[in-house]
């Protein structure tokens, strides 16, 4: 998920006017913008829920926890809303509830799990529902500095006018503090530990001081401020959080979806969404989805059975990977007529999962000639998938 960072200008007090203009031009923009943030995409739904919201809510929250839950996990009849709110996050509802209540407490929320389990998506939905702004994001990398978490300076302006609040560039976190919004911190563990620790004082004291200034040098967090961070449990570049920082977060672990029915729903939902954005109306063949799900399920079993890391696939075999592989396959069949969907899927799958040569290729080869070959003997729908896979693997060699 790529972050879209917004400069101070756009959240100026004149923002309201601009946002109004922005609202009017949303329809036009949506034809241009590649990916709308959740609060834009589900704007109408959010407003609808807001009008129906009679539940108690924390200060500065757009939706109450109850409505926010409905926004994320979908509605049912007993909610008595009069319309259906579609499910956006396919996971355990308890997990979502724990995440929501954590954000209404004074601790931050850290969503942790394997890659591709929907952590960033959930964070985005939470921010959209709480603050109507999911774009106050800091992207954690090994090069992230403390400036990007707190504030930095517009050098040219500083030279011209000296240091002041006008020449200060607030970070997304500072902005969320100032306006009582939910700040997001993606891939927290990719930052070095000393940079991570700058969050400690923010989460404890709930202010940032600006020592360079004499006046107006403290930015206090308004009610409604909190931080939702995400971290990969699998990442090789991980910097462990200090115990002081851990204490200030509640951890919610997002597990890999193991239930095939749920996984099917997720993939269908996402693919349909992606197709819709591209203006394509192609339906996902059920057999294709079944082949994909079954292959991944068996790959996961085979992967977990191997003891040595060097023999395991580098890929996390997450639901997100399945979505991208399937999307790739469907687009191939649409844009390159004549190619069968199973063949495209085989190509896409092997291309997507082979990241290390020759280790990953060896593993997939072994898997292909045992499991997939077996499946193709049992059912003809696997035949073209199997043979195309063999060809693709040969091309790697």
């Amino acid at each position: 998920m790529s972050a879209i960072s917004i400069t101070k200008k756009e959240v100026d007090t004149k923002n309201k006017t601009k946002s109004t203009k922005k609202q009017n031009s949303t329809k036009k923009e949506s034809e241009v913008i590649l990916r709308l943030p959740a609060e834009q995409r589900y704007k109408e739904e959010l407003e609808f829920l807001h009008t129906k919201d009679n539940y108690p809510k924390p200060k500065n929250w757009f939706l109450s926890p109850h409505m926010l839950k409905i926004f994320i996990v979908g509605s049912n009849k007993e909610d008595k809303l009069g319309r259906n709110i579609e499910k956006k996050f396919f996971g355990n509802t308890n997990l979502v509830e724990r995440a929501i209540v954590t954000l209404s407490s004074d601790r931050g929320l850290l969503l942790i799990g394997d890659p591709g389990t929907g952590k960033s998506w959930l964070a985005e939905l939470l921010a959209a529902g709480i603050s109507r702004n999911s774009t106050l994001v800091v992207q954690g990398t090994a090069a992230t500095t403390e400036d990007q978490i707190k504030y930095s300076w517009n050098i040219a302006s500083v030279i011209a006018r000296g240091q002041s609040r006008e020449t200060l560039i607030p970070s997304p976190i500072m902005q969320s503090m100032e306006f009582g919004k939910l700040g997001r911190f993606e891939e927290l563990t990719r930052c070095t530990s000393d940079v991570q620790d700058s969050l400690i004082s923010i989460l404890s004291e709930k202010y940032i001081s600006i020592p360079e200034l004499d006046d107006d040098n403290i930015v206090y967090a308004k009610e409604g401020f909190n931080v939702v961070a995400t971290a990969n449990s699998r990442d090789k570049g991980v910097n462990e959080l200090s115990s002081a920082l851990k204490r200030r977060f509640n951890f919610v672990t997002i597990p890999i979806v193991k239930d095939s029915e749920t996984e099917k729903k997720i993939i269908t939902f996402r693919i349909q969404d992606l197709m819709k954005k591209k203006g394509l109306t192609s339906k996902i063949p059920t057999s294709l989805l079944d082949i994909l799900l079954e292959t991944f399920s068996e790959l996961r079993i085979a992967n977990s059975a191997t003891r040595s890391d060097s023999v395991k696939l580098e890929s996390a075999l997450s639901t997100a990977e399945q979505i991208s592989i399937l999307e790739d396959a469907i687009l191939q069949t649409i844009f390159f007529k004549g190619k069968g969907s199973e063949e495209a899927l085989a190509q896409s799958l092997i291309g997507g999962l082979t990241r290390r040569l020759p280790e990953d290729l060896a593993m997939i080869n072994k898997f292909w000639h045992s499991v997939i070959q077996n499946n193709s003997k049992k059912s003809p729908k696997w035949n073209s998938f199997y043979s195309e896979g063999q060809k693709t693997m040969k091309s790697f060699q």
Partner: protein, 967 residues
Amino acid sequence: MTAIESSCDNLTERLVSLSLSDLLAEIIGEQNSDQNKILATVIDDIDEVKKEIIEIIPVAHHSLASAIHTRKRLLENKPKIIFLEAPEDYEHLIPNLKHCILPVAFQGILTESKNIDIKFLPIISTSVLSEASAEFQAIKYASEHKDTEIVFVDATCNHRTKWYSELIPKEQDLLRIKEISSHTVDLKIGELYPSSEEFLNSLLEKSGMNHFSEWWLEIVENTLLDLSFENYQQIMILIGSVFRRLGNRQEVEILTAKRDEYMWNKIRETLLRTKINPSEAVFICGASHAIKIIDGWGTKGKKSKNKSFANSKWKYGINQSDFLSIDKQFNHLPGITGEVDARWEAIKKEMYKEKPGDYNQLLRKYDIVQHNQLIRWAMNIVKKARSKGYLTSPADSIAIVKITYLLKEIRGRANISKYDLIEAAVTCLEKDDPHLPKIEDLVENIIILNKQGRVGYHALPPLAQDVLNRLSGLKVPRDYKRVKRVLFNLAQQPEYREISNLLWLLKALNVRVVSIVGQKKLGYHENQESWDIYIYKEQNTLLSLAHEGITVEEVFRKRVLKKVDEKSTIIDILTCIRDVLTYLPSDDISLMYLSESLIGRTRDLRFENPLDVYNLTSELLNYFRTLKTGIPHWFKEFIVSAYRSYCQELTSAIDDNSFSTENIATMFSFIFKVESVALSQGATREELEISFKMINNLDLPIGKKAVVLAAESLLNSEKEFELKKVVATTFWNPYMIQSLSDLLTGLIFSTNFAPNILSIIIELLDQCFRLLKEDLLHQWMPQLINTFSELKTEYIAKIANDLKRYYKGFANEISKMSLWYDDDYYTQMIQTRGQTAIQKVDEIIAEKLEEEISTNYISKFITKYNQTLQQFSKFLDLPIDVPSVSSAEYSNSIDTLLRNHPKVIEQIKEMMNIDTSFVERSEAKTINKQTKSNSCPTTDEGKENPIISIIKKYDETQKEVIKLGGL
């Protein structure tokens, strides 16, 4: 809008809070007509119940709402008769309930049946009662109101067991087979649980709950609390109807239908008999039984007769239970029953009034009380997490409490749920560290309420009462609930002997009494005993015996006698006899039965383990010999019979390769042990002698041969000499050296019956260490050590002591250095001259000695012998002080010393107390020779021996001498 649609809408209104209408839509599809059909059926079910003359109170097991509504309804209507869904064979246990503290379980035990395979017996049928249950409230109401009768109408344990076992062949259901084979048939009164997994999963998914009990508590229970009885009844019927019609597996439905028929037959019969008006009757049953499925349902239903099965004998009683067991039995989450009970306790006083007031207020107060409890729990969780490695602090307790409340709000719960607390703890404390234990596991132990029930003295079965009465000497109050530790000094407190005997008997029956000090053996009386008695705390352990008899002695006797049948071996019977004599010494009848069982079995004695036969017989024989009455006649008869049998079987046993040397030796041990008794009863040695004659014709392995000869030596002293010959032959023949171990083993086994063999063993070992060449000895040493290590400790202990005594003689044997021989020369000698060389060996070596300087031999021998000595001393754990220098150096230094001062040899020998009489003859010549050219000074200084003066003069010499002499 049709009537059905209209009533469906009304129903939907009522159902909407339960999400049942949604659930129905999910299960049966989106088509309205089907949904309406189901709803219409449900409405019919409600109507049927309304039409029925008897008032039906549908309940769920261990449900607070059911308990409250049942109590209230009974107080309102004051029925004359209550029909309760409970097995009718438990009814007679009701009066005992007043002596109990709940939860307890009505229990039926089946020990004999013509219909059920014995391998499944005993079958135990359990029905648990807790105070916060509709069933108990009905029983309590009837006990408080004398003009109200209570009748249990459900099928008996017998019926249920029979119906279960009938279902097995049809369904091949492993669960059912397991249920029967685990000997427990759970009778869940008022069970309301969908047996269809698909239905259950759908139910939970729609409601967002993780567990059925959570669904019941949150969705149903809290709603039911605030309703009127009519609404309560309707909702329960709705649930019962949906679960029964849509949520049950087929075999469960078959069983439920049979039970429905049984219950309504019983109800009709009872009404006819008592002539009570049905309008004055109440039927309390699980909600699924309130549904009209069968034709026989209702007072006006189709009549049939309940069959009775007379082929099984059940025994009934009340047993201890606890909340966690109830949770397990009813598939609850752990802690649910405890939670329900806690809430009942909060309103109990109000509910037990004739006109209960507002209990909701009390429940709200309980919620407030829960807040303090929640804080305590949070603190305990944080404390426990810290002890397990989590870096927690009081801030985490605050966070846990806060998050728990927030979860309660977001989930729309009326009260805090333990599951909210668990999830809050997980959220606040777990930090993705795989090395630490899971918070969920830590929390469960803290927050789950459990209570153990208690069966009062007067409700105990006769056996338990008898035991408690006999233990009254320990001055333990009857309501004692803890583990009792007792200490006896039976020499000073003989009055505790009876209690001690009882405790040993209980221990033998696997009742939970733990002996810390003391032991029980036949004919042996311990003076000091210490016990931990758990039966006051864990009543189950004693109650489990109750169905077997009236007293523990009866139970023990039955169990012992049960072990004896046509297929029992002599060992089995002797073991039973020993057990009876140990624990029930005055039980002559059992002894008589067991003794009669011994008759005629000795013909198969050979196929039984001789060691066990020998040990048991010895134990019994030794015991009987201590009695004034002496050996009983039947035992004498057994001995004679066994003696004859062994004597006859000796030859075939010895010839059988599968029969080990030890077994043979044990047979002989048995024969000689009991011989005196056998001979006094008319047996003769003839058979034994005949056996020996036959054995002598066999070609036996060396070990068995040794055993046989050892046995024969008891009858014929010449055989001892023959044995010695065998030993010598084996020893001196280098091709037989490897069988020395077998020989030695056989000899050692023989010491059991022939103690005279010990001297032969000592001699053999002595010779081995003295005479065997080092390399041979080293080759043989591991085998020897293995042999010793494989022997039982009693054998080793026996010979080790003697070996130690004989060790001292080893030093003396050094003197026979003339027997130190040259390897090749000796081997050649043996080969050429055979055994006759043994006799001439001394002469030959003496000749050799004349040829060479004796010092060489002495020094060589001493050094080489030291190494051997070291090994042997280590094995026997005997102290030998040997120098640590290398043998070569040591040998050289001694050699030099002795060469320079040959007279020192004599002095050394004197100091070591060596008998050198043999050597002196030859050495004398050598020494004489040397003396002539000796530069050793002689002195006439006083009377001091010149050698001594030399020793004093030369410090170095002195040191060596001291070392040699071990001084």
